[in-house]
């Protein structure tokens, strides 16, 4: 071993001899040559659409002896009934832990862990997922489990009960961390408290979910035409395609998918206060509705966001953090999402005694970006940052696959990234100024403050109307009490 390292050292020492001593002369980073980046075309996944509408993406990647797959299935918590909020979360958990007709979840755990393999399921806002990861030697075994969980889950009641207990615990803890309160309440102010994207499970809605609900959900959503499956790893493409065609080819198609209609109703502008006695820092969020990524404004918004609230160079970071030292965490911008308005948000955390001062500073930065729009130099930095780091959107086969699956899921074209690059390149300072004027109306934005009001530098009422926010957790009401609460040291609120 020692000889080997010595050998390497000698080789390197040899190389070093060729270097000129001119290093110390470099005085400006701009003098450093930047060669052209070699053209890099990532391996595009192969897209297969089965007769029954199931879409499959496959990428061979032989670097390591691993195979990973993930299926995304249409339908998520935004579609669950309000009185059963949390259903999809419980479904996503119990789908795997509740086992299959043939094996209990515990048996699956033992079987998979012995192979250091995983089959996992989950519930999200617009989709549910089921995926696996295994060493390539174990593909037959693990794929069999994957299929079994996909098609024949049992949703055993003991595991639903366990998932309910965990959900109840999470509800009971949701006000312990001020950052978590701020994130949740800010989204409610922007989207409307009852909006399905921000609705939270409660004790009663968790307790209302029965095994039958999970089974019905599964039955209503497990159709091949609702599924996008992506696989990367050390396999042979033709063999994998044959395996998948055999597994899924004869599966009957379901009814055509229809996206739900969802409305967004931002709260009235005011200062919404969550008064918390046990903190010495205020979490401030100023929010509004963003937009979607198919909006022609998207590229200008991306550039604006970078210059305004993105990186080290951004106005918010430079002013609130670097110049004033008012915050550690500060940032924000006009949020975008694929199929619904993103969250427009400016956020910061500052000590209780500078709460109003920081808010006023934030208003100033917003006013300033209207009066002194993002200039050429700022725009160039923002574009450079986006375009020079562009390669990191597709530098691994997994990232490429994930992106393609997202475009497929939301009905975007496969060349979305290419269009993004071209779109950003074309943005002008007039475009950036225009989106700033169009989307940033601070007088319309509700402001959330999670903090200890007794320590504020000035009362929030000095700025405008204050609305106290009640974050207390509604106790379980009527119906069946969740078992976990029956022994009850849960206090009344």
């Amino acid at each position: 071993m020692k000889t080997l390292s010595l050998l390497i050292l000698t080789v390197i020492a040899g190389a070093v001899m060729f270097v000129s001593a001119a290093a110390a002369q470099v005085t400006d980073w701009k003098q450093i040559p930047i060669p052209t980046l070699p053209t890099f075309r990532p391996k595009e996944p192969k897209r297969i659409e089965l007769q029954n509408g199931m879409v499959i993406f496959l990428t061979e990647d032989h670097e390591l002896p691993l195979i990973d797959g993930i299926a995304r299935i249409r339908g998520g918590s935004r579609e669950e009934p309000a009185n059963k909020a949390g259903l999809v979360q419980l479904y996503g958990e119990t789908w795997r832990t509740g086992g299959t007709k043939n094996q209990t979840g515990d048996q699956l755990d033992d079987f998979l862990e012995a192979r250091a393999a995983r089959v996992e399921t989950g519930g999200g806002t617009d989709s549910t997922t089921i995926g696996w990861s295994c060493l390539k030697e174990d593909l037959d075994d693990v794929f069999k489990v994957f299929l079994d969980v996909l098609r024949d889950p049992a949703f055993r009641p003991d595991k639903l009960d366990l998932a309910q207990k965990e959900a109840i615990d999470a509800i009971s803890r949701r006000n312990d961390n001020p950052l978590q309160i701020a994130a949740r309440q800010a989204a409610k102010l922007a989207y409307g408290a009852d909006n399905p994207y921000v609705r939270e499970p409660e004790y009663s809605s968790i307790a209302a979910v029965q095994q039958q609900d999970l089974m019905s959900w599964h039955k209503q959503h497990l159709y091949p035409n609702y599924i996008i499956l992506g696989i990367t790893g050390d396999f042979d493409l033709a063999q994998m395609e044959a395996r998948l065609r055999q597994a899924f080819g004869s599966w009957a198609k379901g009814p055509a998918w229809r996206n739900p209609h969802i409305e967004f109703h931002p709260a009235q502008p005011a200062y919404y206060l969550v008064d918390k006695k046990d903190v010495n820092q205020s979490n401030i969020r100023m929010v509004g509705l963003g937009t979607t990524r198919d909006n022609p404004d998207y590229y200008a918004i991306e550039v604006f966001n970078y210059a305004f609230g993105g990186g080290f160079s951004s106005r918010l970071f430079q002013d609130i953090r670097t110049r004033r030292g008012l915050a550690y965490a500060v940032g924000g911008g006009i949020g975008t999402a694929f199929d619904h308005p993103g969250l427009l948000q400016m956020r910061l955390g500052t000590k209780s005694g500078t709460t109003v001062e920081a808010l006023q500073a934030l208003y100033q930065v917003i006013d300033d970006v209207q009066k002194h729009p993002i200039d050429e130099a700022e725009m160039k930095r923002a574009k450079d940052a986006i375009l020079n780091s562009f390669i990191f959107n597709f530098d691994t086969p997994e990232k490429v696959l994930r992106e393609r699956m997202a475009y497929e899921f939301y009905g975007y074209t496969a060349d979305f990234l290419e269009r993004y690059r071209a779109g950003v390149e074309k943005v002008t300072i007039a475009d950036v100024a225009r989106v700033a004027a169009k989307y940033l109306h601070k007088e319309q934005f509700p402001v959330l403050v999670v903090g200890n009001s007794s320590e504020f530098d000035k009362p929030l009422s000095a700025l405008g109307p204050v609305v106290p926010v009640n974050t207390s957790i509604p106790p379980p009401s009527g119906g069946k009490k969740p078992a976990a609460l029956e022994r009850g040291n849960e206090r009344k609120h």
């Binding site: 071993m1 390292s5 050292l9 390197i12 190389a15 070093v16 060729f18 270097v19 000129s20 290093a23 470099v26 400006d28 980073w29 930047i34 052209t36 670097e63 390591l64 002896p65 979840g105 079987f111 862990e113 012995a114 393999a117 030697e137 207990k165 965990e166 109840i168 615990d169 009971s172 006000n175 312990d176 961390n177 001020p178 969550v274 918390k276 046990d278 903190v279 010495n280 080290f312 160079s313 970071f317 670097t322 004033r324 030292g325 915050a327 550690y328 500052t350 000590k351 450079d384 940052a385 020079n388 390669i391 990191f392 691994t396 974050t471 976990a484 609460l485 849960e490 206090r491 609120h493």
Partner: protein, 506 residues
């Protein structure tokens, strides 16, 4: 059933052997170790898939090295390493340098008055504070704020960040492959001539970081108190972020001294992974990072924690849900039993087959999460092996204590099963393989293992060591470590309502 079981066993026997042979041998072909004449170590892993690379600069200094009364200084310097150099971040360094010296003079005069025990003159103090703040305003005139970070971002840097813990400080980001020379220049400048500009504004930023992570978060508050109780002599009793009064006192001069002592090439290892050809890269790296002046390794001595004599307990009354944690002193990472502790952590905590999940979450249904882990708050020096559990509503921390203790007793009295032992070992190999596909993770692992063991191959050998752990080792180490007098307990209890609404958990 029988044939099924045999098949599992066959897979288990085959798999690890296959994996070892394949991994280290293949891996070694792509890795090179380089030591520059100034003492800097560079490990490169060539992974030509995409034209990008990641680096990880590991500096062998953490908050354990914070000077007395200056806790938080290692972390503070990490923030300052983004403030630029004599060439980056300034409009006129010569003038700025003079102005910064004046800031330091004004601050030390102000501090002397501020910290007087007797006869402090409040009006004089106000004047001195103003003089200090005026000096800062003067120095700030020359600043091009955040220029260092701006360059990295505009040139396509991805994931630029840094962290400090008790054991080490690290800096990292990824770049497109054509920026290797720019990276080498920037990283060398940063550690050749960092300038302590805007120090006192940044100190306020760090204080906000403390408020966010510790003061305004019940779990943060508990962990700080818990660690402080568990360690009395060792520097591990101090929080990395620093105590508030130290944060409000240390100076740019202190940070500069700290830098001079610890940021020396012999104390640094850089890991690079990605589209980097060693034969082309090393001359460039040598050209720039070879400029860091050679210097002996700093004094490594620290205070050794004496054996604990009795159990310690910290109970916080909080307006939050309860939490239970207990920790036991164990030797440092170089201990011959290090792999045994890893095996125990995996057995107790990893996934749904783990003992604590099965006992506390699945069977007793008293906790939403429970695990045991090693390395609190670091592992370079003797530290803690800790267990924790989050009780679900209706259950109390004492029940967590009893249930965890029952699982510990099982470890002490009964041998783990063959299946469990094999599972741990298979999992360790698979985790290693899974970690090899990510440039940033690889750069970090290589730098870390090279710095800690003097050989990056220990990344693979640590799995070999785990392979040798036997049932008797687990019982022996459990009996040795998990004893009452060696234990510290930390509990969050939900505060009882006082009637004035103050104890009301929201």
């Amino acid at each position: 059933m029988n044939s099924h079981r045999i098949r599992i066993l066959a897979v288990l026997f085959l798999l690890p052997t296959l994996a070892v042979a394949q991994d280290l041998a293949t891996f070694e072909k792509h890795a090179t170790l380089n030591k520059l004449p100034n003492g800097l170590t560079v490990v490169i892993y060539e992974r030509p898939e995409a034209p990008v690379f990641s680096f990880f600069t590991h500096v062998d200094v953490g908050s354990v090295q914070d000077p007395l009364n200056k806790t938080g200084l290692a972390h503070m310097f990490e923030h300052m390493a983004f403030k630029g150099t004599e060439k980056i971040g300034t409009t006129n360094y010569a003038a700025e340098k003079v102005a910064l010296q004046k800031v330091e003079e004004a601050y030390s005069i102000y501090l002397r008055e501020r910290d007087k025990r007797l006869d402090r003159d409040e009006s004089k103090l106000k004047q001195l504070e103003k003089a200090w703040r005026d000096a800062i305003a003067e120095a700030n005139k020359y600043v091009k704020p955040n220029e260092f970070g701006q360059i990295v971002e505009a040139e396509g840097g991805e994931g630029m960040n840094a962290f400090t813990n008790h054991d080490e400080t690290a800096y990292h980001y990824s770049f497109p492959a054509n920026r290797l020379e720019l990276w080498a220049y920037l990283e060398s400048e940063r550690f050749l001539q960092p300038v302590m500009r805007q120090f006192y504004d940044e100190r306020n930023v760090v204080i906000e970081e403390r408020r966010m992570r510790t003061d305004s978060n019940p779990i943060g508050r508990l962990l700080e108190q818990f660690q402080t109780a568990a360690f009395q002599a060792s520097e591990y009793h101090r929080p990395t972020v620093g105590w508030m009064s130290d944060l409000n006192s240390f100076s740019a001069t202190d940070a500069d001294k700290f830098f001079q002592e610890y940021y020396v090439p012999s104390n640094m290892v850089i890991g690079l992974a990605g589209n980097v050809k060693p034969a082309e890269a090393m001359p460039i790296i040598e050209k720039y990072l070879g400029r860091l002046p050679a210097h002996g390794k700093p004094d490594e001595r620290n205070t050794v924690e004496p054996p604990q004599k009795s159990e310690r307990r910290v109970v916080l009354q909080e307006m939050s849900q309860p939490l239970y944690i207990e920790g036991y002193h164990r030797p440092d990472y170089l201990s011959k039993d290090d792999a045994v502790y890893d095996a125990i952590a995996d057995l107790m905590s990893n996934g749904r087959t783990s003992r604590l999940y099965r006992a506390l979450v699945r069977d007793k249904k008293i906790a939403s999460d429970s695990a045991g882990f090693t390395g609190l708050p670091g592992n370079k020096y003797p530290h803690l092996f800790a267990f924790y559990a989050f009780p679900i509503p209706g259950h109390k921390p004492e029940e967590m204590e009893q249930a965890i203790r029952a699982e510990i007793e099982r470890l002490k009295k009964e041998d783990v099963t063959d299946e469990e032992l094999k599972m741990i070992k298979t999992r360790a190999r698979a985790t290693l393989v899974r970690g090899l596909s990510d440039n940033a993770g690889l750069a970090q692992q290589l730098a870390f293992y090279q710095a800690r063991y003097g050989d990056w191959r220990e990344l693979f050998r640590s799995v070999d060591r785990l392979e040798k752990v036997g049932k008797e080792d687990i019982r022996r180490v459990a009996n040795q470590t998990f004893t009452q007098e060696n234990r510290t307990v930390g509990i969050i209890e939900t505060a009882v309502e006082t009637g004035d609404g103050k104890g009301d958990a929201q």
